[in-house]
């Protein structure tokens, strides 16, 4: 061995990385101050964020919650902080129930009772019916949205479209039950009549029977049952509907119905049958070609002229129909995008298995097309839900419409941002929830094509 051994025989002990490249400092050097340009931008951004937050945070949190009017709010602000640049949340405290439920009576059976003065013998909590409808909505949606929920809950899902209007509007239980019987007839004949009537014949027969039932029979039969077994809730007029409840109602109905209609329209648009295709294209292009606000004016103004004078076709129903049609057209195009994205091989594969059109759609095409369309579908849902605030323009008292009414009170005239902030918060919670769900669903359905 050589005497001049420059070869190290033992390992150097591992040293900690320099303090400037680990931990918070290292992360900041790497991400925020990696060069003079980034450093400048970082400093500017921090200054900007500080500027915004230093205005918003004191305004939001150094606020007045207990006051009877804007003037009183201002007096308290002046006494406490010496200026009036603070939020007056007292208006929300005073009116939050109205912003949520509109003029819906808290105890429909006792018109004179209010939240602060419940009826003596009332055992149900206030706003029981709309709250129950909302809870049941989640129960009904659960088996559709999440795979792990017991399938038995689908019974609730099927019953919900009939239960919800009954809970909200009241009246006799037999009307929604008889409407449901109509649907049962429709599907029963369409399904089991095929052997005797053929495919097309059974569908036509089902439609005719169901229409006759709904138009002429279901009313008297419901009346008969109502006489024998009277189960009824006190009626609440549509006029009393308002606030965030109205937004959710219109939004849920439009979302729930527009998806199936949208699928049918999208399929119709790709159909080989000329009349079906023309009808679908015409409908989609017409609805997409006009603004929603125009359709709402048609619902509120024009339909009034078309119908015989004195006809009282519920304004909320009219609006729901229009918003649903509007959403359906957009939904159809989103789903058509999903259909177009499917490789041709999928269609050919379905054909080679000997599946007929509907089987292929149900088992092969639609599951994939819908999966591809999820972001677009949820985007449309969120857009429709937010568009419901447009109904304030035709005089319905949704949260935006109510904020105008609240401002028209002498106590709260002059208040502005607080109401909008509250409404924005409500909408943000719902829309953010939908958006997160869609991301979760995308991850869950990810099967590794990308």
């Amino acid at each position: 061995m050589s005497e001049h051994s420059f070869v190290r025989t033992e390992m150097l002990p591992e040293q900690a990385p320099p303090a400037t490249s680990i931990g918070v400092i290292g992360w900041m050097r790497e991400n925020l101050f990696s060069g003079w340009l980034n450093s400048t931008l970082t400093v500017l951004s921090i200054l900007f964020i500080y500027y915004v937050l230093s205005g918003v945070i004191p305004w939001t949190f150094q606020s007045v919650w207990n006051a009877g009017s804007l003037t009183e709010c201002r007096e308290i602000m002046n006494a406490t902080w010496g200026d009036t640049h603070h939020a007056c949340w007292a208006v929300i405290k005073d009116r939050w129930l109205q912003l949520l439920y509109g003029f819906y009576p808290p105890y429909p059976a006792y018109p004179s009772a209010t939240v602060s003065t419940p009826p003596p013998e009332g055992w149900l909590p206030s706003y029981f019916r709309p709250n129950l409808a909302l809870i049941l909505l989640f129960v009904a949606l659960a088996p559709v949205l999440f795979g792990r929920v017991p399938r038995q809950l689908l019974v609730v899902t099927a019953a919900y479209p009939f239960l919800m209007p009954w809970l909200l509007w009241g009246g006799t239980l037999w009307v929604p039950v008889m409407t449901a019987v109509g649907f049962a007839l429709l599907f029963g004949i369409a399904k089991y009549g095929q052997s005797t009537l053929g495919a097309l014949g059974s569908i036509i027969a089902a439609a005719v029977v169901a229409l006759v039932w709904w138009l002429f029979l279901s009313g008297p039969v419901a009346g008969l049952f109502a006489d024998i077994i009277p189960i009824r809730l006190p009626v609440v007029e549509s006029r009393a509907f308002g606030g965030f409840m109205l937004s959710i109602l219109i939004g849920v109905v439009a979302i729930g119905i527009s998806l199936p209609i949208g699928i049918v329209l999208a399929l119709g648009r790709q159909s080989d049958l000329m009349i079906v295709k023309t009808l679908c294209v015409g409908f989609i292009e017409f609805i997409r070609g006009v603004p929603l606000i125009t359709l709402l004016f048609v619902a509120s103004v024009l339909l009034n002229y078309f119908m015989p004078p004195g006809t009282n076709f519920d304004i909320i129903m009219r609006v729901m129909i229009m918003v649903t049609l509007f959403a359906s057209a957009y939904m159809a195009e989103v789903i058509r995008g999903g259909l177009a994205a499917l490789p041709k091989g999928q269609y050919e594969g379905a054909d080679s298995l000997g599946l007929n059109y509907w089987q292929a759609q149900r088992l092969i095409i639609m599951p994939q097309a819908l999966k591809i369309s999820i972001p677009g579908i949820v985007s449309t849902f969120i857009g429709v839900f937010k568009d419901t605030t447009l109904v304030s323009i035709i005089g319905l008292l949704d949260p935006i419409g109510l904020s105008q009414s609240i401002r028209a009170n002498q106590e709260w005239n002059g208040i502005y941002w607080e109401l909008f902030a509250f409404i924005a918060l409500l909408f943000f919670i719902c829309c953010f929830g939908m958006s997160r769900y869609s991301m979760w669903l995308e991850r869950k359905l990810q099967t590794g094509h990308r």
Binding site: L70, T71, R74, T84, D94, R95, Q98, G102, F103, T114, F183, L186, I203, A207, A210, L211, W214, L215, S218, G219, E237, R239, A240, P260, I261, V264, F297, S300, V301, N304, Y305, M307, P308, P309, G310, T311, N312, F313, D314, M317, I321, S392, I393, I394, G395, L396, L397, G401, Q404, S405, I406, R407, A408, N409, Q410, N413, G414, Y416
Partner: protein, 339 residues
């Protein structure tokens, strides 16, 4: 298929709706409620309170009519209408009466086939400026930026006024009164113009109302009144004379406090007795009970009481009677005789 179901449901809904009757009065009696169109919110004139009860000067007209017709001031279904939907709601029969600070103009009366039954508030368009601007007359506003609600008569009046005085202005279009307040306070415009009652109500909400002045010029006539649709004169008569009863009641000193006493004991004035239904058969002529006016006045008080309660000088709106005083006091209120 889905569409068929849809149309079916639509038809069902259409068929279950009521069938129109001939006379509005009979319809209301059968329904048990008066459908009254109001604004979605205007300070002092119509707004729902925390319990959802509508309050205000226009609302009081609805309640008085409901009391006269149905004997119950609370038997009113208030239908909020916007500036765009109000006339359709009336002509389609959705509402029986529109009491929504609506300016009486020829085209609205004649072309839109409405019948204005009177005036419950004489308004006019004014200007509000900040005192620091140092302007004391609207004629000094040459070159000013003006916050103006779009699509209203105020917009047209403004153009007329500036043209007639050979001045120029720059409009800042706004949609609602609340937006106008914000824009004006933020300095987006030098002056805010709308009906003088609206300006007063707006100014009252400012932190420092004394820093703003309402200029003396009133540049338009805005007679605001309730209206009904063409085609049912009997119904129009009922509404017209209910409003007249409120006005006449103030003139003759009938108040909600003394009306029961006057009605049961009778008075020395034949006209008061005729209004109260203790003499003559005016109620019968209208197709109403003899004590229709007693009920109407008891609902909220006479015209003066309603004014004081909702928009008078002791309220935040703080309007002076001005043109809306009785004719004896130099105002324009003048009810035809009850005879």
């Amino acid at each position: 298929m889905k569409k068929t179901v849809f149309l079916g449901a639509l038809t069902v809904a259409g068929l279950t709706a009521g069938v129109a009757g001939a006379a509005t009065l009979d319809d209301i009696k059968a329904r048990g409620k008066l459908n009254c169109g109001v604004t979605t919110g205007l300070v002092g004139f119509a707004a729902p309170d925390a319990n959802g009860e509508w309050q205000g000067f226009d609302v009081a007209v609805c309640r008085a009519v409901a009391a006269a017709v149905l004997g119950d001031a609370s038997a009113v279904e208030f239908v909020p209408t916007t500036g765009k939907t109000r006339f359709t709601a009336l002509s389609s029969g959705e509402i029986d009466l529109l009491a929504r600070n609506t300016t009486w103009t020829l085209s609205r009366d004649v072309d839109l086939k409405n019948e204005f039954i009177g005036v419950n508030y004489y308004d006019g368009q004014g200007f509000m400026v900040s005192k620091s601007l140092g302007v004391s007359s609207a004629k000094e506003l040459n070159g000013a930026t003006v916050c103006i609600q779009t699509g209203t008569t105020t917009e047209l009046n403004l153009a007329d006024f500036f043209r007639a005085n050979d001045m120029e202005y720059e409009p800042v279009p706004i949609e609602t009164n609340a937006e106008g307040q914000q824009q004006y306070l933020a300095g987006a415009c030098d002056t805010y113009t709308t009906d003088a009652s609206g300006l007063a109500a707006t100014r009252a909400t400012f932190e420092n109302p004394t820093e703003h002045v309402i200029l003396p010029e009133i540049i338009s006539k805005e007679p605001l009144g309730p209206l009904v649709r063409h085609g049912d004169q009997e119904w129009g008569d009922i509404v017209r004379w209910t409003l007249n009863a409120l006005i006449a009641a103030e003139e003759f000193g009938i108040t909600s406090a003394n009306i029961q006493d006057m009605a049961s004991n009778g008075t020395d004035s034949p006209e008061v007795n005729r209004i109260l239904g203790t003499e003559g058969n005016l109620g019968e002529m209208l197709g109403l009970e003899a004590d229709w006016a007693v009920k109407a006045i008891s609902a909220g008080g006479n015209y003066g009481e309603l004014f004081e309660k909702h928009i008078g000088e002791n309220t935040p709106v703080g309007l002076a009677r001005g043109l809306n005083a009785q004719w004896k006091d130099g105002g324009l209120l003048y009810s035809p005789p009850f005879r």
